[in-house]
Amino acid sequence: MVEMNMAKAINLALLEAMTKDPKVIVMGEDVGPDEGVFRITEGLFAKFGGDRVIDTPLAESGIIGTAIGMAIYGMKPVCEIQFSGFDYYNYHQLESHAARFRNRTRGRLTVPMVMRAPYGGGIRALEHHSESREAIYAHTPGLKVVIPSGPRNARALLHSAIQDPDPVIYYEPKACYRLFREDVPETMETLPIGKAQVVKQGKDITLISYGASMRATLEAAETLEEDDGVKPEIIDLLSICPLDTDTIIESVKKTGRAVVIHEGPRTCGLAAEVIARINEKVLMYLEAPVVRVTGYDVPIPYFSKEQAFLPDSDKVLNAARATLSF
């Protein structure tokens, strides 16, 4: 085991994937000599050179569009979009082409590529540098969407994303890049896309989250245990599309209560989908309505007020207590 932060773990996964498979290439803005604005591509340009670590012109649609061509040709591009707030420029290429080529050609042409982008608030960044729009991608048929929450699952999920035969959106909670360190195994590992993890077993209430919001969720769970004597079960979705319905419903069957937490806006957010599936499958097991703690339906405010927008442990705690005392 080696202890490292999430930024390093993602960097390690890129290094390992590129070493293992010569078809894996990295492309994006400032990923070369600058090694990425968050230093995620550190050391890669020096090791693999400009043919495999490509500084592109400043054009997100260009990055994703050409990556689609490369993927169809047989490469495995791992694209970095500098901030998720700039990936709307390339959404068209993903929606209209990356997500459709397999379906359109009845399986003859496929697009095995990854789009990585840092998402989410909490780092006092400028406008367009803090939003959380994973639901747009989850809502796009033909795309898989994974979001790690810590160093170990970040590395494993990125390997899975790169090895996947279809386009995968890999959203990185930038607030977690250097927030904490964790043991990561010496040998490469993967995590199945489409599978959630029960990170803590419990029996009284299910807390469901992913990405950066896992921190607030874990904090709230600790208080629930210590102050309220409640045993929460915590699910880290990891993959928001495909969504692991089985893990969610098995837990809710046991607890009868759930809170879903994410920082993306509420309307048509992931929580809405999770709750719909709970209602479809295990409504009769519920002891209380499922509550969501989410970002609000406004653009995340500039940084003087961004903390009020984000789910924090107090909000999660209040929601959990309301659910428990329903």
């Binding site: 803005e29 400032d30 070369g32 000599p33 600058d34 090694e35 604005v37 500084d55 012109p57 400043l58 054009a59 997100e60 649609s61 260009g62 707030g85 700039f86 420029y89 006092r124 960044a125 400028l126 406008e127 367009h128 540098h129 509420r266 309307t267 609000y296 339906d297 406004v298 653009p299 405010p301 500039y302 940084f303 003087s304 007020k305 961004e306 009020a308 927008f309 107090d314 909000k315 209040n318």
Partner: protein, 390 residues
Amino acid sequence: MPRTPIELPKIEYLSILNEHGELDKALEPKIDPKGLIEMYRYMLLARRTDERMLLMQRQGRCGTFPQSSGHEAISMGSIFNINKDDWHVPAYRELAGLLYRGWPLEHILLYWNGFEEGASPPEGVNDLPVCVPIATQLLHAAGIGMAMNIEERDGGNKKKEKKVVMTYFGDGASSEGDCHEALNFAAVFNAPVVFMCLNNQYAISVPLSKQMRNETIAQRAVAYGIPGIKVDGNDVLAVYQAAKEAVDRARNGEGPTLIECLTYRVTPHTTADDPKRYRDEEQTKEWVLRDSLPRFAKYLQQKGVMNEKQLAALEEEIDTQIKAAVANAEEMFKSEELLNPLAMFDHLFEDIPPYLQEQKDELRDHFKTKGKDWSNPQKKSTKAPASSRK
């Protein structure tokens, strides 16, 4: 049939006041002394504000921001050609122009300190706010220009003069699809837009040579069928002259112009960037010597427009102005009115729909559980920010 060459317009490079302060008398634009002093004032005000903000950022008193130092001549030389009725559509290094247009210094400080209020254009200013996404603002500029044409044809413009739009983008932005679309729309619809390209040769770490293969950005004008010119972007007179010709053409109904202004980003991209990772900073030192301000000051002195004493007095005046604005802005940063998180719901739509009101109430109640009632934020007596325009 023989192959026949197609004649295309040639692209010119314009320099009037070079880095040594030498003037090409034949090309010198006619700007009255009052105008020259005004141009110098806002260039200096922008420079000193930028420097003060950098200091504040290092002290934790300002958020991440893209420095504008080194781009003042481009902003000022162009904006000086347009009037209040005309429109200013900036990117994010047009500090001189924003201040000249009347944006209070407090707004600039608020914006880069994470307050939306800083992005709200002051009354009577036809400006869009700073635009962070790359090249997107160019389409808005083209659209404003198209609307001006429609208004003009409808007889809606009661002024004698046709209005124009002045917009800005960087060399990196020239790679975005929106840049192409904006230039093409403006050309097709003959929109009165002046496209100012700040070619500072770096898009964060990516040098111009990796951004494009063409020798100039200006030559793209040929492809759109519009006039294009490349100028020394550290020469405020050259920028002024090229922009003046472009504005004159636009007012005359001759449509858009593309002006490439060559400079160099002598600062990091933003305060979060470290250029030592990707470029030789010796080259930066050479470009610092080509700075627009000293050569312009020298020109003003040689022309007898300002003497050393007056230049020093202006420095002092600007210093006082910035200090007062910083003090006022820092009071505003602490004011409950501006810190009220419930305000995040107030301007999404004209009226707040029920589902959003519910979310607003939810957040209000959440703060109440923590002992804070944001329904009645305390009023703090801060001064209303004044226009930066003297």
